[in-house]
Symmetry: C2
Subunit: 140 residues, 2 copies
DNA sequence: ATAAATCCGACCAAAATGATAGGGATTAGG
DNA sequence: CCTAATCCCTATCATTTTGGTCGGATTTAT
């Protein structure tokens, strides 16, 4: 029941963009170094985040990435859905594109997976990048 | 963010033992057929559940498995922990044996993983096999 | 023009997953 | 005692996923 590094690195990178949020775009190289992630691998994750509309890229010299929306309008759920796909612990109980199995109707274990999924969703959709930023200021 | 089949099959098998709970032990073969799981593979999962003290085995002809405790005293959390290991989405935020990373102290994303983990734990520890059984009766 | 960046597609090694195989040990019933 | 049923154990393995790496094309500030 582990997240892949996509979700882990992705949240780190998005939080990095939040902390260093300004007029200038932030380069991959900078994020990768600060967060200790392989630059080339992070590149692939940023491509996904860009296609999902969570970041915008600026090409060319002195380019980089910036958040596509205000930190208060991007949730942890947005990021995890983009990188990890629909939320859920089993394929027959996802938010979307769930693969119904044969015994779908009578399956009691399904109800358990639904409850777990819903508790995860409630949590990740209630935390924004802004919330995380505020939290980090408190800790200083 | 998917569970392996260990957890999925394991819960199915444990629920099967609950429904067919009686004086007689239930054979692997029966569980496997009813739940549509490879018998040999299920055998490995039952070995784990047995070593975790969740089921008892009866060897020899007409042997099989029975729940080690009352269904009301076995939670979904017990089963998932046995089969999937300590609960948590990332290695640095597990219930136990967490692997602290270098930047552990300042890591803000960690707080997010903790909240998700705790919401999962709260859910899985609040559902017993008896709860599931009661639910299944209602659906009939 | 040049250097700093993103963009893109292909490839790849290691680990995890979901089994399968084969035999040994135990026990109920005839 | 014999046999069939059943759990127990270790080893092996094919496939998929993961977590990258590589090399070059494209874009743009200076």
């Amino acid at each position: 029941m582990r997240l892949s590094t996509k979700g882990r690195y992705g949240l780190k990178a998005m939080f990095d963009l939040t902390v260093n949020n300004g007029s200038e775009p932030i380069s991959l190289n900078n994020i990768a170094k600060r967060q200790d992630i392989s630059e080339h691998y992070l590149e692939q994750l940023m491509a996904i985040l860009r296609k999902s509309g969570l970041v915008q890229s600026v090409r060319g010299a002195y380019g980089g990435y910036i958040l596509a929306r205000k930190p208060s309008e991007i949730t942890v759920g947005d990021i995890l859905r983009a990188l990890e796909g629909p939320i859920g612990l089993v394929d027959c109980v996802l938010e979307k594109d769930a693969v119904e199995c044969m015994k779908y109707q009578d399956c009691i274990t399904r109800i358990v997976w639904e409850k777990i999924r819903d508790s995860i969703i409630e949590t990740i959709d209630s935390i924004t990048l802004q919330n995380m930023y505020d939290e980090s200021r408190k800790h200083k």
